[in-house]
């Protein structure tokens, strides 16, 4: 039917730039060209031996990992509190807690820039971490809220009646059942931090640069060449691999509904 063809076309459109970015990496040309005139893996070598990129990559990974950890540590208890207790003004509170998701990154980046300057903290890696946690925590909050809301309250109650202390109940009953939410939220938190540009671009310095910001300045200044393609290919492979894994374990439908879109 026409609808099917149309959808295929739109999906192709959606995948197009990603396929192109990855494809470029396998080219041998000096400038990014798709389709490449000849195949070669040399750009991967160039990318991996570029110290700027490697440092930036390392920074990004560490930053993203720390962000994910922190978001879970402060987001999980918050989600539990929101579900268990009917707090006054809850809808407003929830909207507020989730608002970093909707506000433009540029805004927050600029605001953080002013804040770090005015407060004397300065542009440090900790400042970037704090900013990343702010924009990433709503993801963990949202997915955890969704999963926890769907849990039968009776399970925790029964555990209590059977003699489990509140901590035991949390560890043996609540946490295992919340895992899908935490994993999905954690993944989005990781990606949000790892890929972030609008906030990071205002807060990074030459010492504390992240991978996407490095790529950005590369693209803006030096015109594009396939080295970016190589980095992109690796990143895309990793990310899609993770997504695929998540899908296998939890099912992508669940992740979407958890993501609330």
């Amino acid at each position: 039917m026409i609808l099917r063809l149309y959808c295929a076309a739109v999906l192709a459109f959606l995948s197009l730039p990603i396929v192109v970015a990855v494809g470029v990496a396998f080219g041998s040309d000096k400038i990014a060209r798709f389709p490449p005139t000849a195949l070669s893996l040399r750009w991967f070598g160039v990318a991996l031996s570029n110290p700027t990129f490697i440092t930036a990559l390392g920074n990004s990974v560490v930053l993203a990992a720390l962000t994910t950890l922190l978001t879970i540590v402060i987001g999980l208890p918050a989600a539990m509190a929101l579900v268990r207790h009917r707090l006054p003004g809850q809808p407003v509170l929830e909207t507020f807690l989730l608002s970093p998701l909707s506000l433009p990154g540029v805004l927050f980046g600029v605001a953080m820039l002013f804040f770090l300057g005015a407060s004397g903290f300065g542009l440090t890696a900790w400042g970037i971490l704090a900013a990343h946690v702010v924009i990433a925590v709503p993801y963990v909050l949202r997915t955890t809220l969704a999963v926890y809301r769907g849990l039968d309250r009776g399970l925790e109650e029964t555990a209590g009646v059977l003699g489990a202390t509140p901590w035991q109940t949390f560890w043996h009953v609540t946490l295992p059942l919340l895992r899908p939410g935490l994993v999905a939220g954690g993944l989005f938190a990781f990606l949000t931090s790892f890929d972030n540009v609008p906030v990071s671009i205002f807060l990074t310095t030459a010492r504390t640069t992240t991978l996407p910001v490095t790529i950005m300045s590369y693209l803006v200044n030096q015109d594009f060449d396939p080295i970016v393609g190589a980095i992109s290919a690796v990143q895309v492979a990793l990310v899609l691999g993770l997504l695929f894994l998540l899908d296998r374990i939890y099912g992508i439908g669940q992740i979407t509904s958890l993501a609330g879109q």
Binding site: L155, E157, T158, A159, G160, V161, L162, G163, T165
Partner: protein
């Protein structure tokens, strides 16, 4: 179960003046109840009567606004849920979906850090007791409703609770399975010798299972007694109406005699009610006469003593074991009579027939008017 005698474990439960309000609704009001050790007591009532709230208060899941919960002689008000040593089976069983049957069943013991060998042995015995041996490695979703319910029971029993609390646990089962489980549940309770408090809205279930029934309505207990007591001698109109079927005749006391009280119904009929053991109300007081359908005799003439009312048959319903006869008395009241099908002869009554409905004075009860 090694400690199945449980004599040392079973406790009595006492509720004194329990009250709980939710916003504008008084869910439970001034509730007093005593459950003896080893007794099976049902909290029976329609939805919203406060029975589940009461159960949850006993469990410690809800804090009462007033009153005391005393279990085994110990005041439990400030004791947190996980220290009360009770067992709870909910309507949806609340089996941990991420744990196997064995892990579910041994949960309580594992939380108490019992010795693994001990746990394994007792778990095996518990599973055997509920006839689920061999299903230890299954997950709850792989079990049928009846099996899940038994896992929930075994899980409770393994922690040797002082009291077993059950919140409409058989509600999700179909009729045949429910009746089978009722028998199993009762025999298990007897065998283990545990005190049980059972919440249900199904009066047949309560009558079948309980040693004593507490009938609840709008947050209060209207009557507590053995099933026989509740059925034969209800104390309020609500109780009479909620349990089984009952005929009601409203009227006024016109004479208090030696062995009987005479009432003139609103329809004008004269009814005699035996005054045995009842505090006969004074003359002029408004009352309700309650008679169970199986106590009514339908025939051409009335019984020698007692009340006899002329009536017309409106409908005859055949239900196999009995015949339900719907009548309208000449004085206007509607009555239902049950006649046992104890002979193979076809029913001789037909709609439109003019008959006499009668009952003996002892068969009728006097209830306070209104009885909310």
């Amino acid at each position: 179960m090694s400690t199945s005698a449980g004599g040392s474990k079973m406790a009595d439960v006492e509720l004194r003046g329990i009250a709980k309000r939710y916003g504008a609704v008084q869910a439970v009001a001034a509730l007093d109840l005593r459950v003896e050790p080893g007794q099976f007591v049902s909290l029976l009532g329609p939805s919203g009567c406060g029975k589940t709230t009461t159960l949850r208060i006993i469990a410690g899941l809800v804090r009462p606004d007033a009153g005391q919960v005393i279990i085994g002689g110990r005041v439990m008000n400030d004791v947190p849920v996980h220290h009360r040593g009770l067992g709870l089976v909910a309507q949806n069983y609340a089996l941990f979906p991420h744990m196997t049957v064995m892990e579910n069943v041994t949960f309580g013991l594992r939380m108490r850090r019992a010795a693994p060998a001990d746990i394994a042995r007792r778990a095996g015995e518990a599973l055997e007791m509920v006839r689920l041996t061999g299903l230890g490695d299954r997950y709850p979703r792989q079990l049928s409703g009846g099996q899940q319910q038994r896992v929930a029971l075994a899980r409770c029993l393994l922690v040797e609770p002082a009291v077993l609390l059950l919140d409409e646990p058989l509600g999700a089962l179909d009729k045949k399975l429910r009746e089978a489980m009722q028998v199993e549940l009762k025999s298990l309770q007897r065998q283990v010798g545990i005190t049980a408090i059972f919440v249900t809205h199904d009066q047949e279930e309560a009558l079948t299972l309980s040693d004593r029934i507490a009938v609840m309505h709008q947050g209060r207990i209207q009557q507590v007694g053995a099933p026989h007591e509740i059925y034969e001698t209800p104390r309020t109109r609500f109780v009479a109406e909620f349990i089984g079927v009952c005929n009601f005749l409203e009227g006024k006391v016109i004479e208090r005699g030696m062995g009987a009280v005479t009432i003139r119904t609103d329809g004008g009929a004269l009814v005699a009610v035996g005054a045995s053991g009842q505090n006969a109300p004074a003359e002029g007081v408004k009352v309700v006469v309650a008679v169970r359908p199986e106590k009514l005799v339908v025939g051409a003439t009335g019984m020698p003593r007692g009340t006899a009312l002329p009536a017309r048959v409106e409908a005859v319903v055949y239900v196999g074991t009995a015949v339900h006869v719907h009548l309208r008395a000449s004085t206007g009241e509607r009555l239902i009579a049950y006649r046992q099908n104890d002979s193979a002869a076809p029913v001789a009554l037909a709609p439109g027939a003019e008959v006499v409905v009668s009952w003996s004075p002892e068969a009728a009860r006097l209830l306070p008017e209104g009885s909310a």
